[in-house]
């Protein structure tokens, strides 16, 4: 009896050991009983964007005629690419999913993403509005050979949101709302000084101002890319030469901008440094409370304001970002791509078509998550009304956003310069930490780090 129990026990141990080897149950490519094809859609969307996507998916699942069921898998942004790598390496890629805009061209050319051009050319049921030429520049991941590796469903631009009450209380005029004649950097700085107060109510420059005890900040600026690109571009400067083969991040034009940004944090104390921002509540919450008066971030931030019940023109509003010399902006969108390893590419395409038509997916645009990717939605009044004819898109929205999307913005370079992540995010950005901390000037920090030399092996040009 004892021997039998021993055998049973060790057998159980052995089986539990082997269970660790079993493959993950994959939902991609299985056809369930009713003849529906289940496809897996991965995304890093969170907050308002995730809710809107889920609504769109539920709608698609209940109304589509091709018997396709979409199962969504949302992963936090930081872990997203690791997860996709693991899935692809394991042979079970998702059928369709978000692809980071810095990776879309690379993965496409390596064969991980499916070329969508054949679908565009041959699909008879493609709506007229989804003609390739009708897409806003930068919303299709099209390379020089005409291959399309993904559709950018939600083009984004950079905007400045501000709290109207803070300006009223301080007695200052609101930021200029004409994107062709926005506030200059100096105008923004002057306003920010008046809007920053410490716990005793003093402003920067007043005697007795305690910069360690600030209660409200004038402005919160981003120190990441592409969010800070409009600042740099507006000074007629950029990190790379035109062909992407030279790094010019230490040029005078760029260091002027970096230094001005750092001065906001350390010299004038009107903006929190990134180290401080990490410990504070979300920017949107702080803008709503008046803890910050101005906030520069992507258009997608509007969705969070909407979810919190704040409409433009009511307590908050939007303005173009402050510039150094000329108005500039960047437009980009993460890609929604079909994976080449998917076994249900046609089903994935039917879902992608659905997502790409603003008509069928109108909540995403009405809730401020995305701006429309099709040109006609900026010129045709009946279409304009559909997505911005609501309280959320009140205030200066049309006045500011439309000219930026159609005239001013350029395709954000971080989508088409090779090795952008390794060069800018991993090598140049850490050097700039010294500028945000105030421990070195931009010029000194960049010269000392000699990034132009160390980044040399990575400068391979552009994808387009």
């Amino acid at each position: 009896m004892k021997k039998f129990l021993c055998i049973l026990l060790s057998g159980a141990v052995a089986i539990s050991l082997l269970s660790g080897c079993s493959k993950q149950d994959s939902t991609s490519g299985c056809v369930s009983k009713g003849g529906t094809t289940t496809i897996k859609f991965t995304s890093w969307a969170g907050g308002g964007e995730k809710d809107a996507l889920q609504k769109a998916i539920n709608n698609f699942n209940s109304t589509n005629k091709e018997h396709v069921e979409v199962k969504a898998d949302f992963t936090d942004f930081n872990d997203y690419s690791t997860k996709i790598d693991t899935l692809v390496a394991g042979g079970t890629p998702p059928d369709i999913g978000y692809v980071d805009e810095t990776l879309a061209f690379e993965w496409g050319s390596k064969g991980t993403l499916k070329d969508l051009d054949p679908y565009f050319q041959t699909d008879a049921s493609l709506p007229q509005a989804m003609n390739i030429d009708n897409f806003v520049p930068g919303s299709l991941f099209k390379n020089n050979e005409g291959k399309i590796y993904g559709i950018g469903l939600g083009p984004e631009i950079i905007l400045m949101f501000y709290n109207k009450k803070s300006f009223q209380d301080a007695g200052i005029a609101e930021p200029a709302s004409d994107p062709k004649h926005p506030w200059t950097w100096d105008q923004m700085l002057a306003a920010a000084k008046k809007l920053t107060t410490d716990q005793n109510g003093k402003h920067p420059g007043d005697s007795g101002f305690n910069k360690n005890k600030i209660k409200t900040y004038g402005i919160q600026i981003p120190t990441g890319n592409p969010q800070m690109l409009p600042f740099v571009l507006s000074n007629d400067a950029f990190y790379f030469s035109n062909d992407g083969k030279q790094l010019t991040a230490a040029s005078d034009g760029c260091t002027q901008v970096f230094q001005a940004m750092g001065d906001l944090m350390n010299k004038y104390s009107v903006a929190p440094s990134p180290a401080l921002t990490k410990t504070m509540p979300a920017g949107t919450t702080m803008l709503e409370n008046g803890q910050i008066s101005m906030m520069v971030d992507g258009q997608y931030t509007l969705a969070t304001f909407g979810a919190d019940g704040f409409n433009l023109g009511d307590k908050i509003d939007v303005a173009p970002v402050p510039i150094f010399k000329t108005p500039e902006n960047v437009l980009w969108s993460c890609s929604v791509s079909i994976f080449a390893g998917s076994k249900n590419q046609d089903a994935a395409w039917s879902f992608l078509k659905y997502l790409a038509d603003p008509e069928t997916n109108i909540q995403m645009y009405q809730t401020g998550t995305w701006v429309a990717p099709l040109k006609s939605w900026y010129t045709d009044p009946s279409l304009i009304q559909k997505w911005v004819g609501n309280p959320l898109h009140g205030g200066n929205y049309q006045k500011v956003v439309f000219p930026i999307v159609t005239d001013i913005a350029q395709l954000s370079p971080h989508t088409y310069i090779k090795n952008w992540n390794q060069i800018i995010t991993q090598q140049v950005a850490p050097v700039l930490d010294q500028v945000w901390n105030g421990t070195a000037t931009a010029k000194d920090a960049l010269e000392k780090a000699n990034v132009e030399k160390t980044a040399q092996p990575l400068l391979e040009g552009t994808w387009q």
Partner: protein, 306 residues
């Protein structure tokens, strides 16, 4: 114990026992072979290739190893950062743990309460630990800066400052020295009391007792703890990943953090595997050095000629 060497043959009972022995260690051995040794050998192979996990591997020879030491601008930085951390962390943890163990070895009321209190930090999951210390290091209203302000000192930037980030992480690590302390405490119990009495008779104070009795007797334990804490320190990762992401300005870009980034953000699996194996070589070399030096300073009681 039964003598198994009888004319080279084993009794049936012995053979039976042996069979059961193999059977019971089989899961553990299989586990090591399949989940540890196998992947190790695979990663050794991958380290000679260029692999981004999506496309087939491409043989590169020793190119990865060459790139590491010559053209990667961050590699040497990460080595310096990791060695600096180890140099600070090993003494800090061991001295602090030994200090606590000596305190606990005295006749103090509520000894077991203190012992538990000092030990608990070391079993807090490291991710939770990192989140907790991010709050403590908070430059505006964190615990440490609030204490400093209370005493009228300037607030510090802690993990937000290039020069302070590694010492800050060492402080956090010393807080978790509980498990090392327990080992020292156990070692302290093994010091013969008559040696202390001999010092009392010959005339000597607490200091003499510690330096000439406690430390030498404890030296094998110190040896063990130095090696384990050194190996652990060279592999530090979570604190960098959660709290600083390698910043500011790469001042906390630990070796394993760089390895993780190369593997999963930059999709350079082959390069990352090469980095992993070089780390293995470093750790093995350093451990061998400590072992060799142990002849000079480690005293084993049973070696003394009576």
């Amino acid at each position: 114990m039964k003598n198994l060497s009888r004319a080279g043959s084993m009794s049936r009972l012995d053979k039976n026992n042996l069979k059961w022995g193999y059977f019971f260690i089989a899961p553990a051995v299989l586990g090591i072979l399949i989940f540890i040794l196998g992947p190790m050998l695979f990663s050794f192979y991958v380290s000679f290739t260029d692999w981004d996990m999506m496309n087939p591997m491409q043989w590169q020879g020793i190119k990865n190893y060459k790139t590491m030491f010559t053209t990667d601008p961050l590699y040497w930085k990460s080595l310096r950062v990791t060695f600096y951390f180890t140099l600070l962390n090993v003494p800090a943890v061991n001295i602090f743990a030994l200090f606590l163990a000596c305190l606990l070895n005295t006749k103090v009321k509520g000894k077991s309460v203190f012992r538990t209190a000092f030990y608990i930090p070391s079993i807090v999951p490291i991710v939770a630990n990192s989140a907790l210390w991010m709050f403590i290091f908070n430059p505006t209203n964190g615990l440490l800066n609030s204490c400093l302000e209370f005493f009228g000192a300037d607030p510090q930037k802690w993990i937000g400052d290039e020069n302070q980030v590694i010492p800050s992480i060492v402080i956090m690590s010393a807080w978790g020295a509980g498990s090392t302390m327990i080992i020292y405490l156990a070692g302290l119990q093994g010091v013969p009391k008559q040696l202390y009495e001999a010092v009392d008779i010959d005339g000597g104070n607490l200091f003499t007792k510690f330096l000439h009795i406690t430390l030498p007797i404890l030296s094998p334990i110190v040896f063990f703890n130095v090696i384990t804490s050194m190996i652990g320190s060279l592999q530090v990762f979570t604190q960098g990943y959660i709290m600083t992401q390698g910043g500011p300005n790469n001042a906390s870009l630990f070796y394993v953090l760089l390895l993780y980034r190369e593997a999963f953000t930059n999709n350079r699996m082959g390069y990352a595997c090469a980095m992993a194996w070089i780390l293995f070589v470093f750790i093995a070399l350093l451990t061998a050095c400590v072992f060799k030096s142990s002849n000079l300073w480690v005293f084993y009681e049973n070696e003394v000629q009576k």
